[in-house]
Symmetry: C3
């Protein structure tokens, strides 16, 4: 992510120097800042809308009897996350650092020290990113998680877990910290910082929770528990794809031609991911699977998130295609080999493909950040050194999120409780936790 | 609302004065106008999309047998409203005034007198605002209103009721009228001008109509009539939240850093409203209620609409929290004490919380419109005088919309008819009014 | 469509000439280009989101047993189309021409020859346009088309059919070709180039396929096959309307006041189309039909797409009203007289109303492209010569798309197969083609 407290209009127009051009320079700087504000805020709103996408994907891919519950979790993790990030997280991520995390700028008493109005645009953009990381987890824990336990988790991820890692990878331009960024770690829009953090927390949560009742039979074999509303899930994927045009191109936070370039790489990777996942599912199960294809688009989007700024369109195609293959294999592996019950495939989409995308930065990047003049070759990377740095970042993310996740969810389990009762789970969390049904008036058969 | 017929680029760049800088000034003015156009139009499109949000919320929170009807009403009130506002309403609201309303600029023969292209951007932005006021009413009148009667209402609100009040509160910069604005009334983006107008008309409509059959038993006790599709309703709330980023920040109509600041206050109030409503419903009904939580987010959004430009983030949090409490209590009060049947809670969300947000301008505003340098305190208001002016505006809105509403709906009732026949209502308005079902092929049980 | 490889900021600010203002000119040029990029990319994202709208409309207006299939087709035609247009189509449409089509700029090795970053914004905008043309067809062929055959079609339209016609109508500014454009053919945002191309391909596909089983009884009379989810379809229409604010105003590709003007004409035509279709359906079938009203809004949008830049608001109203009448009559004619089974009315909405809108350019256009100072009259057109040119374009589009479509679908039919087996069709394509149901847990009755 480019982090620009004051947008770099001056640099963009470096040719207009000299003493008597200072009025021009000042005007250009202000106008470019205003362009940046409009762009960054619109991008932030698109990223906000991804909350609707996650809600529809997660509700659609799970059962009708838990739909209200998953929607409430999506609404509440963003609401709680907004306030937790405002009060605590933003300061930890971007405040003046103690070396490990920021220690100022909580509740933006004096945001980033200068009070310039750009800071609020930066805050809203960062808030919706934190909300994205938070909401990934709900899908993997769908169908058996206590609502109260989930609310507590939401506070922790947006107040502490996400922003502290974020300060390592994205904080250095502002506060001099950011040990990962100082190593040369590249994650432009957050394959690791946002998606893998969410994915590995989701893995920890799904493990601590255990599988849904009936998911693994006495023979330990995985049994499919079908989603109840594929049109909603498909709508969710389209909304997420739409929102990703804010997520990736928006991470430039500058209104200039790079927006189009990042939009092109983002779109190609999504398309390639959908196609690849469809083909792999077709080979494996003899039919083109809709759930896999939809997840393939998301896999391509997650994977291109880190390298979207530094690869050619052909590189984006390759990254998306590989992500589409990976996500299908990963879903099957986690379900059938690890026997971890992840109802919507969140760990595979966000954790695994986030790692793949981050690694791809080391494989497909041009040597210089913008060295994309020649796009005939796929592989013209930063060499093995860059690959190594990317692996360090991937490993740090896994260690941080998975270990903290295991601890946090275990503590929640032992104190206020993490898992709904078996009775609630069978009748559905909607009745048990919220006293209502998602589809009043329709006859819905429980499929478990 | 800031109303800028010609965007104030010149003022923004006041430092670049002097005779030989006139070319620079002109260039800056044009570029800033273009930035304003892009921003204002994008914001208008987001506000348009709120029509989808209202349609999904209202359809989801009501019964399946009336879903087609409510969707048609949402489609048609915007369509009719677009044309009525273009032909009549815009001129009444922003034309040269006779002291009470505008009398020029109908059908934009010569919009606002100068033909500058900015005017069309202003028109589309104002059109979608009028459409928002119009569509609020359908939810409160759901399940028993004749389609033809509703169409007639749609003409009146967008041609007369909304724009005349709007001219009082927002028209003065353009036409010298605007008695409320001249008093010092503050309603930045329309808590009162848009939402309360819609809410009080909804109240009048619900009263004139009477409750749905079976809503209040022989014992006069309220009986819950459950919404048929909570995922749709939740989607609608996410869409509305998304669209509100056009509604509030867009009301600056200027592309600069204030957009980010208004987006931050808007988002915090929505989040706080959702959380507060969830907690209050949890205390009252022992379970966190999804409908209340979703309405809580909307309540926070409605309440922050007036003060979004003039409060600190901490003030926005407080306004949203209080709105979340108010909306739950108001829904219960209107349903159980007033015995007015408002199927989706439109009166509470838009009328009551619109009034609260408008009042909050007097409580939480900085002394100067932009005096938000210090955000340590919540209350540093414009004093009791400002509070008084706000109360005048709130009362004027209620009197205008509620009384006109009672008259209009009564006249419709006595002439072309307002209420569907009991037979139509029982079988569902979809069959009765439109000859079709919303969910062909599904078995849907009527819950009344 | 205005095609601006380098955005014309210099022309916009022509007054700031002179030798010593070159720094100012350069700064203005760069800033205006950045504004254009932000606007064009945001518009492109809105157009992308129309994919969700098409998916919801097509799924909602058809039966539940085929919902997964239609969603997969929507996902896949855009995914395949993205890559086909990137690799082949863009070069055919905008590359250096051989007189009939472009022959350079494939896979943007050296996009448009200059590598300026604007080109990527132009590419993403053009990609989502190609995707729109592609996805129109799926609705007309819903319920009986083999998935594999549909995938092959997707490659052809985005790689060849759409871009070659596009080069005739929109390519000349870039490559000197564009025989239609050189004739004076006007189609600002694609009533013909995008919508009619899709509509006439849809007609060819529906003819080659034949009707769904049971659609026409032994008496040859048409039987209504009802859509299964009107709320989804209505959501889809709202999404399409929203996205059209990117489609039409975005086709300026310049961030200035024209955006607002085009948004106004677009919105008025949509509103008028919905109202007119409702009224016509009310007259014909005694009840205001929701499907017709929703299609009426789309008809207005398709019709205004060509003339949106060159008509007054009053002209837009007239064009939309007529489109709303045409679409109802066309749907009835195609269904009852031609006996072509078009489940969602795609041929009428996109083909027929696209032709109407293109013709309307000759009827309603001001003499000069921007001669809209006087808006008292509806008809002040470019005379019969312009009408003639418009008819040439309409006829060329029909001939090109319909004939190529007949050939292509027939070849697909004879080789890999175009129509699903009767057994698959009866049980639903979801089970037959994808091995899953859209609504697991719900009891859905097949209506055929």
């Amino acid at each position: 992510m480019l982090i620009l407290v004051v947008a770099p209009a001056g640099r963009v127009f470096a040719e207009s120097g000299g003493a008597d051009t200072s009025a021009l320079d000042a005007a250009v700087e202000k106008l470019q800042t205003n362009i940046n504000v409009v762009w960054t805020c619109v991008a932030a709103f698109l990223v906000f809308f991804m909350q609707a996408g996650f809600a529809m994907v997660e509700a659609g891919f799970t059962r009708a009897k838990n739909a209200v519950n998953i929607l409430m979790k999506n609404l509440m993790d963003f609401s709680i996350g907004t306030i937790a990030f405002f009060l605590v997280g933003f300061g930890l991520m971007f405040g003046a650092t103690n070396g490990l995390f920021g220690t100022t700028d909580f509740a933006i008493k004096n945001i980033l020290g200068d009070g310039e109005s750009w800071n609020y645009s930066f805050l809203i953009f960062q808030t919706v990113f934190a909300g994205t990381a938070a909401t990934i987890v709900s899908g993997a824990m769908a169908g058996r998680t206590k609502f109260k336990g989930y609310l507590v988790y939401s506070v922790f991820i947006c107040a502490f877990i996400y922003p502290i890692f974020g300060s390592w990878a994205w904080g250095s331009l502002l506060n001099g910290g950011g040990w990962l960024e100082n190593l040369g770690f590249v994650d432009f829009a957050g394959s690791t910082v946002v998606h893998s953090i969410g994915g590995w927390l989701a893995l920890a949560g799904a493990i601590v929770l255990g599988p849904r009742l009936g998911k693994y039979g006495p023979d330990k074999k995985s049994r499919a528990i079908l989603g109840h509303n594929i049109p909603l899930a498909a709508l969710g994927v389209f909304i997420l794809w739409f929102g990703w045009f804010g997520f990736n191109p928006g991470s430039t936070t500058v209104g200039n031609g790079e927006i189009g370039r990042v939009a092109v790489t983002t779109n190609l990777a999504a398309a390639a991911g959908a196609i690849a996942a469809m083909l792999v599912s077709w080979i494996i199960s003899k039919k083109p699977d809709a759930s896999m294809s939809l997840n393939g688009a998301l896999a391509g989007l997650v994977a291109i998130t880190a390298p979207c700024y530094t690869v050619t369109p052909m590189g984006a195609l390759a990254i998306g295609l590989i992500a589409g293959v990976i996500v299908v294999l990963s879903v099957l592996f986690i379900d059938n080999v690890l026997k971890v019950d992840d109802p919507v495939g969140a760990v595979s989409v966000h954790g695994v493909c986030g790692a793949w995308g981050t690694l791809a930065c080391g494989l497909f990047n041009a040597e210089g950040v913008l060295g994309i003049g020649d796009n005939t070759g796929l592989f013209y990377g930063g060499g093995f050194k860059q690959l190594g740095v990317q692996l360090v970042g991937i490993a740090a993310c896994f260690a941080w999120a998975f270990i903290i996740g295991l601890i946090m969810f275990t503590v929640i389990k032992k104190t206020i409780g993490l898992r709904a009762s078996a009775d609630e789970e069978l009748k559905g969390l909607d009745i048990g936790e919220h006293g209502m049904e998602a589809y009043s008036g329709f006859q819905v058969f429980s499929t478990t």
